[in-house]
């Protein structure tokens, strides 16, 4: 279970990027963070994945905090962002083996898992091709596979379908549902309504560094008396966004 309690983050003295965010993500649940660009989604995701430390507040993963159990948390988290560009001269196969060693996965286990995930994501045909020879979708799939090498119970995906074509996007979202059904907790950030609607059990709407609304799609639509989720989001956004 992921627990985020009153988390604040400021890069400069005068401006807070995250302003007291709290939520919980239970096992086997997909939790979505929805918000416009600059709302603080990526900062929040990076704090949950321990890449950034909060200015105040606490984040625990299965009761462990990053300060005392950083490496234990890393064993439980798989973090993926579309911003990651893998080493252009390596191949998905070599990268898998390298990360397998870093996660201390026994060779045989690593090999069978590689086969399984590569088949599932359709990486097999290009596993020995260099990353710089792959399309965006192929790169993204390789990156997803490597993030999940250690079969982490908690998966954090920052904009998982960003820049992907429809087919690859469908492949990725189907895989996320499969992971959820296997009992993984997933937090994903997105600004694509259809992704949020189809995947998330619970959605938090982040505006200017604050969670201004939280619940499942139906409850958010009802709460705002909107026709659909997209309209509900805009109503919430207009109500809470403050121009600086």
């Amino acid at each position: 279970m992921i627990s985020v309690n009153d988390v604040h983050k400021s890069y400069t003295k005068n401006k807070e990027t995250i302003k007291g965010v709290s939520f919980e993500v239970k096992d086997g649940m997909i939790f979505g963070l929805l918000g416009p660009n600059g709302a603080g989604k990526t900062t929040l995701m990076q704090m949950i994945s321990t890449l950034l430390s909060p200015s105040s507040g606490s984040i625990t993963i299965d009761g462990l905090n990053a300060k005392d159990n950083l490496l234990d948390i890393h064993k439980r988290i798989g973090y993926l962002t579309t911003e990651v560009r893998l080493d252009p001269m390596s191949t998905p196969d070599k990268l898998w083996d390298f990360f397998g060693e870093l996660y201390a996965i026994p060779r045989e286990e690593s090999a069978s898992r590689k086969k399984e995930i590569f088949c599932k994501l359709g990486i097999m045909p290009f596993k020995d091709k260099r990353i710089n020879e792959l399309s965006t979708g192929m790169k993204q799939k390789a990156s997803i596979a490597i993030s999940l090498i250690h079969n982490p119970p908690v998966i954090i995906f920052d904009e998982p379908t960003n820049g992907l074509d429809i087919l690859t996007s469908k492949q990725v979202t189907d895989y996320l549902i499969e992971l959820k059904n296997e009992g993984h907790s997933i937090i994903l950030s997105t600004h694509i309504f259809s992704v949020a609607e189809s995947l998330c059990d619970e959605i938090a709407i982040l505006v200017d560094g604050k969670i201004v609304a939280q619940g499942d799609v139906d409850s958010l639509v009802k709460q705002t008396e909107a026709k659909n989720f997209e309209e509900a989001f805009f109503k919430i956004y207009v109500e809470h966004h403050v121009e600086e």
């Binding site: 990076q46 994945s49 321990t50 890449l51 950034l52 950083l70 490496l71 234990d72 890393h74 064993k75 988290i77 798989g78 973090y79 962002t81 911003e83 990651v84 560009r85 893998l86 080493d87 001269m89 390596s90 070599k94 390298f98 990360f99 060693e101 870093l102 996660y103 201390a104 490597i146 993030s147």
Partner: protein, 384 residues
């Protein structure tokens, strides 16, 4: 330790898996060194004699046959002549002018009619002057003697010497010139290689987000950083050793007597001297890697990182020109990180190195590197 080992293995395999990277790491430094060694003799020659092409030679008691020979070959050699008598030479000698001129690379040739000998006088401590003298004997005196022989006249015996055999006896002769050029160029190359490797291993990976992916593994951020630093140290040390071996082979294959041939001509170092250089190189590479990593993690933006990584190159270029002019490093120079490495290699080439100089350099370099590494570990950017 396991994490450090995996990172080192990965980074080294990345270099070998791409021939362009391998060439850039292992062949380019050696090629740059050879080009530098081709250019610097001209530069040093110019600084010593004030001339790139014409080499002034003073002839004492020139026989008529010699002046006639010179007139007949005018425009075919690179030498310009000044003629003086033995009395004038003695006067100049007493005033100390001759010694001064010799030290600045001038060449004197004294003819003795009675013994039919031509003494080529030069500064024997300078390999440039030595090879210049050798070149004069080959180009001018041998041809002059041929002319005399063809006319049935007695030839002049020249005080000829083989620089290679001379170097074996007085090896500081060849190493003298090398000491001016090789140490600063070698350290400059070490920094350049480290700079390009750390730009890729740290700056580009941070920019690509790949470094974050490494940080998300159960290997500690310290191990990741140390692994990368040690990998670049190992690679650059290997490249420097290859450069060094290449340099020695070229030096001994090149038997040209031209004054502008590659230096060091007949380079010679004893095993203990080689061992000192073999020790200084990895320490310098490690220090340079730590400096680069500190710069990478002190600055947020990629463009600024690259610009700041280039700053030490400017310092090393300036140091290179300082080293060409300066020969005997002061004691304080051994305690200056990076510069101390140049000073130690220089004293090794001059066969003047002492243990305290090496210890001073090692303590200063490793101490500075560890302090800087500790500071880097405290930077926010290093684990993100």
């Amino acid at each position: 330790m396991r994490g450090i080992y995996i990172i080192i293995k990965w980074e080294i395999s990345r270099i070998y898996s791409n021939w362009r990277r391998a060439v850039a790491t292992f062949v380019v430094p050696a090629a740059v060194m050879m080009v530098a060694l081709c250019i610097f003799p001209y530069l040093i020659n110019y600084m010593l004699t004030g001339s790139l092409s014409e080499k002034p030679v003073t002839i004492i008691n020139a026989p008529d046959s010699f002046t006639e020979y010179v007139e007949s070959t005018e425009g075919t050699t690179v030498y310009s002549y000044k003629y003086i008598t033995e009395d004038e030479f003695s006067e100049l000698w007493d005033s100390g002018e001759i010694i001064k001129q010799l030290k600045s690379g001038s060449l004197y040739v004294m003819f003795r009619e009675n013994s039919h000998t031509a003494y080529v006088i030069c500064n024997g401590n300078s390999s440039i002057a030595g090879s210049k003298a050798d070149s004069f004997i080959e180009v001018v005196m041998d041809n002059y003697n041929d002319t005399l022989a063809s006319q049935g006249q007695t030839v002049y015996t020249t005080d000829s010497f083989n620089p290679v055999t001379k170097l074996l006896d007085y090896r500081s002769d060849a190493n003298f010139g090398a000491a001016r050029v090789i140490p600063p160029v070698l350290v400059l190359l070490i920094y350049y290689c480290i700079y390009s490797l750390t730009s890729d291993m740290f700056a580009s990976e941070r920019d690509r987000g790949f470094y974050d992916k490494l940080l998300m593994t159960p290997v500690s951020p310290k191990s990741i950083m140390l692994g990368k630093i040690l990998a670049s140290t190992i690679l650059v040390t290997g490249a420097s050793y290859i450069t060094f071996i290449f340099l020695f082979i070229s030096s001994w294959l090149n038997r040209s007597n031209s004054s502008t041939s590659l230096i060091p001509f007949g380079l010679f170092l004893l095993p203990d001297q080689l061992a000192v250089i073999a020790l200084v190189i990895p320490v310098t590479a490690f220090l340079c890697a730590v400096i680069c990593v500190n710069i990478v993690f002190s600055i947020r933006h990629m463009k600024d990182i690259i610009l700041n990584l280039q700053m030490p190159l400017i310092y090393l270029m300036a140091d290179l020109f300082y080293q060409i002019f300066s020969l005997n490093p002061g004691w304080l120079e051994f305690a200056i990180p990076v510069h101390g490495s140049i000073a130690v290699i220089k004293t090794v080439f001059l066969s003047e190195y002492k243990a305290w100089q090496l210890i001073c350099m090692l303590v200063a370099s490793l101490g500075f590197a560890l302090i800087l590494l500790n500071k880097t570990f405290k930077k926010e950017g290093y684990n993100r």
